[in-house]
Amino acid sequence: MAKTIAEINAKIKKGQVVVVTAEEMIDIVKKKGTKSAAEEVDVVTTGTFGPMCSSGAYLNVGHAKPKIKLGGGSATLNGVEAYAGFAAVDIYIGATALSKDDPKNKVYPGAFSYGGAHVIEELVSGKDIVLEGTAYGTDCYPSKGIKTLINIKDINEAVLFNPRNIYQNYNIAVNLSDKPIYTYMGTLLPKLGNANYCSAGQLSPFLNDPFYRTIGIGTKIFLGGGIGYVAWWGTQHNPSAPRAENGTTLVPAGTAAVIGDLKQMSDKWLKGVSFLGYGVTLSVGIGVPIPILDEEMAKFTAVSDKEITASIVDYSKAYPQGIAESLGRASYAELKSGKIQVQGKEIRTGGISSYVKAKEIAEELKQWISKGKFSLTEPVAFFPGRDSGYKFKPLPIRQPKGGE
């Protein structure tokens, strides 16, 4: 019998809701079958904790006396460049932003020890941050420069807004060349020296709702330790990616843009990280509740690591050159065993997304729902789906007229 989100919310209110994590759901469905599991379980919680470069926060820092218009001028936070192309005192700090003085990859491989993601982590932790800004000065905003300490508790708004998160599956990165390479998938040792992967697999949100039936615009989520929402589908959303029989995608596919009040979040779940030779990025903790509306949702959420596979991609040539070439596939069960086979060679695996933390998030969200602190939302609108024709497109190069 089908359930509605309103019925589940009524159960949450009465303290009668049955919530399990996506990991626990695997055994429940195995023992009881999809029909009784769908009747018994109301919500399955998912979780993920990994780096996402497409992260950032916008702040409204408030007006000083005399007033300054940072818009069209410049702003830095702890020396890291923020985007100031908005109104007078709205700025956006991106996770991958660096300071002008960072040597970057001039000393290869660069250390990238401090950037926008670290600023966000420190801001969330309650530390004072140095804001410096310049402006051209107008009659209404006469000031041309500012240098002050700001603190998250004093500024008007601090909002985490990530244009892309919670990728539905990801690549397994390897290096076929004869020298080490430094990538967003970590350091890859020469001649298939290691293989890095990045997904919580059976706990990952979109691998448990592969056709975006319940996760849509407006879905309430666990975001960085606070409450957030799905704002839109994420950039590079690719619902038409090839799929396995169980609906999970064979390559990176669905994504979500997420938003939430940074003031509620915690530095436990938002961490600035440095990837050698690549740059700075933000590790973000996200948990998404999946309502078990019917037997199909019970089946989807029972997917296990053995049944989800990822594509092995060479990051020394195929990835940087945009060549669609796979060296084979491995399941998350194999990846999590610590070793996989690639071209007949047994190689060590390294995770980028933390399964331990993903599990902790799924567990925490389960507690929130069980205790009635978190109710579910009906999506306001759905994401472009498998048959929508919506695709992830490359950028063809066209020469501007009169350009070089």
């Binding site: 970590g186 293989a195 050698l276 590790s283 610590g338 695996t349 933390s354 599990k359």
Partner: protein, 135 residues
Amino acid sequence: MFSKKIVLHFPSNLVDKPIISKLAKDYDLEFNILKALVNPKEEGLMVLELIGDRKHYDRAIEYLKKEKVKVQNLDKDIKRNDKKCVHCGLCAGVCPSGALEVDTQSMEIVFTDDKCIACEMCVKVCPYKAMEVNF
């Protein structure tokens, strides 16, 4: 057979002396040099494994100390900061000695420091800066 991994700090006046060869000649120890460097102040640092009779080893350490070489146990030098580690596993993929490995049950990364050879690969690749060097 006894074996131990140690870190030696040489003052600048010893850098050009054949100290290590004596460990083999006079104390009958095998040695496996895991890392050696001389800094701009001409002080030397060496990470090595010594293998041999326990009595010989103890006497060799006495000799090193008499020569004013500072001796440290290796397991004190590469440490994991458990407050920073999120158990992602990037270190396990590059650790050549198996000192950092995933526990396939809990998915936690286990650090067995007596397997560590202080290559510092984990220190370089850890995005959370959870692996610390205390040479």
